[in-house]
């Protein structure tokens, strides 16, 4: 069914209004419904943290929208806001300030006091995988159009290969 107002988009909202004891029903698209001041839930993020993140980030991550995307995985602050998930471990550095604030609100604290961790010594690692990792990062950098980073990674790969 088409929206009864614009006759362009599909009607997704059934708006019932009562005026002077007369009930009228209108089938509207999301846009026209919004124009009449009806909130639709369609634009809300669909993860459990959704409401919370929106409320927090309106305050703390607004500035971070301009923060550069994560160098490792290319995720942006906007990506985080829509999915509620960070892209990689480096994202914690890329969005450190706003994340610290978010962690404090979520956990009441932003400092880890549990078990400390020392990564294994390189000779103990099962696979160095450094070349494969560099290649993966290069592919990712090209995909997300971070050409400066891509050039740097390409040079590093050449250095490893020779």
């Amino acid at each position: 069914m088409l929206c009864e107002n614009c006759r362009e988009n599909d009607a997704v909202v059934n708006l019932t209004t009562i005026k002077d004891n007369v009930v009228t029903q209108q089938h509207l698209c999301e846009k026209c419904a919004a124009a009449k001041g009806v909130e639709t839930s369609v634009t809300m993020p669909k993860h459990p943290l959704g409401d919370f993140l929106q409320a927090v980030q309106q305050k703390s991550l607004v500035g971070a929208d301009d923060a550069p995307a994560c160098h490792f995985c290319g995720a942006s602050a906007r990506d985080f806001r829509t999915t509620g998930r960070l892209g990689c471990a480096r994202c914690y550095g890329a969005f450190e300030r706003s994340l610290r604030e978010l962690l404090r609100r979520l956990h009441g604290n932003s400092r880890h006091t549990g078990r400390r961790y020392e990564p294994p010594a390189p000779e103990l690692l099962e696979r160095a995988g450094s070349v494969a990792q560099l290649r993966e990062r290069l592919r990712r950098a090209i995909d997300s159009e971070q050409f400066e980073l891509a050039a740097e990674l390409r040079d590093r790969l050449r250095a490893v290969d020779t």
Partner: protein
């Protein structure tokens, strides 16, 4: 790929044996640690190739991880949907790992490493979800097992770790210790006496939360609740599990008190209700899952109150798992319609109860 479940250590359900403390009230204690492997994007953002390399790296490390001796690796991404459902019904994999969430398919590289008492989900929301599952209330034992696994694996595979934030996870709600301890508990007394709302509200004030039988987003059925810690950062692992155990102990006392009140104030009504539940399970020819869960809850209460004897908690635990749809289809060797599943469920429950020495009042 089909799967012979008898090849799994304990069939993956050793925790059903009701050997733990308070096993008539507490079904199981589960502790999981969320970990990510350094050098890759987190699972939701990773490419297929990255996830496969994470899996390969874990696979290579397994022979040097004593906690995983004798473990079985299941490539969840190569299993059929019915088998993935079966693993989910056994609480061995999350809905997310099994690719059973609406609109989602199973991820390339999704795998389960199943050892004795411990397991690792690979390429869940985090690269690694280390888990330990125990019968009854056993937070200490469950934590020691998963901590050992964590130390062994973490000395072979580099984890993503930050000196200030701790272990780094895809979702900031898990950052820090990455630890979620949850206790699956049966609280029919508190539900019947309508005390449950107060108890659940109290949990939230203590920094704990509750969920249904299948974790996040699942409904409460059969009066089973999963109580777990809500925060993971700013407190040590020991503090988190100690607090949970202390509160669960209190909840158990409240449940026992509620049961005493029920018996004292409404003895014959309760007795009648629970025997009717038993009668239905014993003789019904068709049972929906919800019905079965609710009547099993009643019979479990009756056994706890010693109104029915000759029926073991182990049998009741097994029934909870094995009367689910994917298990019935697996036992029948074919897909079942809803009506066929209800009949198969009634038959399975009838036979299981008939095989017990015989319940007596």
């Amino acid at each position: 790929m089909s799967l012979d479940l008898s090849l799994l250590p304990d069939g993956g359900v050793g925790w059903l044996d009701a050997s733990g403390e308070h096993a008539d009230v507490v079904l199981s204690t589960r502790i999981r640690l969320a970990r990510n492997v350094e050098g890759y994007a987190f699972t939701p953002r990773a490419r297929d190739g990255e996830r496969l390399r994470v899996l390969a790296q874990i696979r290579d490390a397994v022979p040097r991880v004593p906690s995983l001796t004798g473990s079985v690796l299941l490539r969840v991404d190569e299993l059929t949907t019915p088998v993935r459902q079966l693993l989910h019904e056994r609480h061995l994999v999350s809905k997310e790992l099994a690719g059973l969430e609406s609109g989602q398919d199973v991820r390339t590289g999704a795998a389960l490493l199943l050892g004795e008492g411990v397991s690792v989900m690979v390429n869940e929301e985090d690269h690694l979800r280390l888990q330990s599952l125990r019968s009854g209330l056993a937070v200490g034992a469950a934590y020691r097992a998963v901590e050992r696994l964590d130390q062994e694996l973490g000395s072979r595979v580099p984890y993503a770790y930050h000196p200030e934030f701790g272990f780094l996870t895809a979702c900031p709600t898990n950052t820090g210790t990455g630890l979620r301890a949850s206790v699956l508990i049966h609280l029919p007394g508190l539900v019947l006496t309508k005390e449950i709302a107060k108890v659940l509200a109290g949990l939230q004030q203590m920094g704990l939360t509750y969920r249904g039988l299948y974790g996040e987003g699942s409904e409460v059925v059969g009066n089973f609740f999963q109580i777990s810690n809500q925060t993971t950062l700013g407190r040590s692992e020991e503090e988190l599990i100690h607090d949970l155990a202390k509160v669960v102990q209190k909840v158990i006392e409240r449940e026992e008190e509620a049961r005493r009140v029920l018996l004292r104030d409404a003895g014959y009504i309760i007795e009648d209700k629970l025997w009717r539940a038993y009668g239905t399970l014993r003789y019904a020819r068709s049972l929906s899952l919800d019905e079965a869960m609710n009547y099993l809850s009643g019979v479990r209460l009756a056994v706890g109150l010693k109104l029915i004897s000759g029926l073991s908690v182990y049998t009741l635990n097994k029934l909870l798992i094995f009367c689910q749809s994917a298990h019935l289809a697996y036992a029948e060797g074919r897909a079942l319609s809803e009506a066929e599943a209800c009949q198969a469920r009634a038959r399975y429950v009838r036979e299981a109860l008939a095989n017990e020495a015989g319940a007596q009042g």
